[in-house]
């Protein structure tokens, strides 16, 4: 059952438009250029499981206090003049955004109703954001914040919910930076010199990406998937004790303090078991891993993708043991940081904003015919680290449900909340059968514990 509560939009010193960040443009271009129209690619969800009843009116008031409701209701893509940087703008309409209330009869906080899972948000026809509250018979509830990835990244969503909570509680933790710094319109010789330097770094980044993404790339995708299916997901967790064991396994392994590499290596080896079980021809695994470019401890920007990428490539022979794979990935990570590759990707994404999206898609995905990754992998660090309660209700769990697109048809995210890990496998239904999902889960568990490796 679903009921809609209308929220009237208003503006409180929020700009009428902002320029897309390079990350925003990348997300849009990749979606338009390579993904199938269904399932809805690039739709993200942040779920808070709450130990009590979340009142929609209270949430509405709290959102109003942030002054962001016009953006949440009406933000859309626009390019005012060809070859100028596209913008996010609010269209000035009085559309309010919607909070959807859902009552379900069964307890099962990890089973999202289909109505929530199929919630439509779009950067081209607003809204690009939505709130769902799910009420359970036990009196608990879940808040599901859905947004289009082109407008916000995972950390931005966490910051927004934290901001809503603080203002809803009247805690007043200081004004966050909602948007990136406003652009300067000054065009002089130094601007063009900077442009030339940036072009050099952009070429370097494109060269690096092409080197990492060369075909053939291992994938779970089959051609029929491009026609589109629904999104499926599986969540499995490790309690604090199990998570401590995984941390310990990581530290005593070659990965050492590089916990994200430990997670990634375990994931690649587990996926390889699934692909091997299909009898597919061996191929390399390519995984772009997003990296938050905000400084640690910052209050923003909340809106706009502030991400860059590290690229990882594992040949078949590298996957033969966990230690060998970790060594390869650690070297790739260090080499890219040393070579300032993430900064070069940021520059590239920013430079391409002036061009038609098709050109960017062609550059990014052309050499591999759209196949740019074996899977999408993400570990955004501690999930909602400052959110023990949401509007005075204890938070039992916070997790991200990642977007999934075709190709590659599979996204995996590692969430950590209060000392426990929750892994979400998000996939295009039909690309993994139940036995393969079981194999993937069991293998990831074993690899994380280093039980079945070396």
């Amino acid at each position: 059952m679903s009921r809609e509560v209308d929220i009237q939009a208003s503006s409180n010193n929020i700009p009428g438009y902002v320029r897309l960040t390079g990350g925003d443009f990348f997300n849009l271009a990749m979606e338009l250029g390579t993904a199938s129209p269904t399932p809805p690619a690039n739709i993200c969800r942040l779920i808070l499981h709450l130990d009590g009843h979340l009142d929609a009116r209270l949430l509405r008031e709290a959102v109003r206090n942030t002054g962001t409701e016009d953006w949440l209701a009406n933000a859309r893509w626009s390019r005012p003049i060809p070859f100028f940087i596209p913008r996010w703008k609010v269209n000035g309409s009085k559309n309010g955004f919607l909070i959807h209330e859902n009552n379900i009869n069964e307890e099962g906080p990890r089973e999202l109703p289909r109505s929530v899972l199929s919630r439509k948000v779009s950067p081209f026809s607003p809204p690009a954001f939505a709130f769902d509250i799910i009420y359970y018979p036990s009196g608990k509830s879940s808040l599901v914040f859905t947004w289009h990835h082109a407008l916000m990244d995972a950390r931005g969503a966490e910051m927004l919910l934290t901001y809503i909570d603080r203002l809803g509680n009247g805690k007043g933790t200081g004004q966050p930076i909602l948007f990136d710094r406003p652009p300067t319109l000054k065009e002089d010789v130094s601007t063009w010199l900077r442009f030339l330097v940036r072009s050099y770094f952009a070429r370097k980044a494109i060269h690096t990406a092409a080197r990492y993404c060369r075909a053939p790339i291992a994938t779970i995708e089959t051609t029929e998937l491009r026609r589109g299916k629904d999104q499926g997901y599986r969540i499995f967790s490790f309690d604090r004790e199990e998570t401590a064991l995984i941390d310990h396994a990581c530290i005593r392994s070659v990965a050492n303090f590089r916990i994200s590499i430990h997670y990634l290596a375990a994931t690649i080896r587990a996926l390889d078991k699934v692909i091997y079980s299909r009898g597919c021809k061996p191929a390399a695994y390519v995984v772009p891993v997003p990296q938050d470019t905000r400084k640690r401890g910052s209050l923003g920007p909340v809106f706009g993708n502030q991400i860059t990428f590290l690229f990882f490539r594992a040949e078949q022979e590298d996957i033969s043991s966990m230690n060998r794979l970790v060594r390869v990935l650690v070297k790739q990570m260090t080499d890219q940081i040393r070579g300032m590759t993430p900064e070069s990707f940021t520059t590239t994404m920013e430079l391409f904003r002036n061009l038609p999206m098709g050109i960017f898609s062609l550059q990014a995905a052309g050499p591999t015919k759209g196949q740019i990754a074996s899977l999408f992998f993400s570990f955004p660090g501690e999930t909602c680290p400052d959110l023990d309660n949401f509007l005075n209700i204890p938070v039992l769990e916070a997790l991200h449900l990642p977007p999934v697109s075709v190709p590659p048809g599979l996204s995996i995210i590692f969430n950590r909340y209060r000392g426990g890990i929750s892994i979400v496998l998000s996939f295009v239904e039909g690309c993994l059968d139940p036995e393969e999902l079981d194999l993937l889960e069991v293998s990831i568990r074993k690899e994380l514990m280093n039980e079945d490796s070396h």
Partner: protein, 84 residues
């Protein structure tokens, strides 16, 4: 040979300028985990040490204890790393 104080001070400056947001207060004894320093930032920090002091910290020295804070890392470099 650099003193622990010099190594600590320069690492703190690096973190303040390149890694941490403006206004984040910390000193050499603040646990890095409390500052949100992840493995990406630790590698950036180690590469800075490599550039600035011409020192490569061996993998065996990158223990949880030595990566607890800037002071712990500086102490480890000064005591265990040739040239530190």
């Amino acid at each position: 040979m650099y003193s622990i104080e010099i190594i600590s001070s320069e690492i703190c400056d690096f973190l303040r300028t390149n890694v941490l947001a403006e206004g984040v207060s910390f000193d050499e004894n603040t646990p890095l985990s409390l500052l949100g320093i992840d493995s990406f930032s630790i590698i950036e920090m180690l590469l800075f040490i490599e550039r600035r002091f011409n020192i490569i910290v061996p993998e065996s020295e990158l223990t949880p204890d030595n990566l607890k804070s800037v002071a712990a890392l500086a102490r480890c470099i000064q005591i265990n790393v040739p040239g530190g």
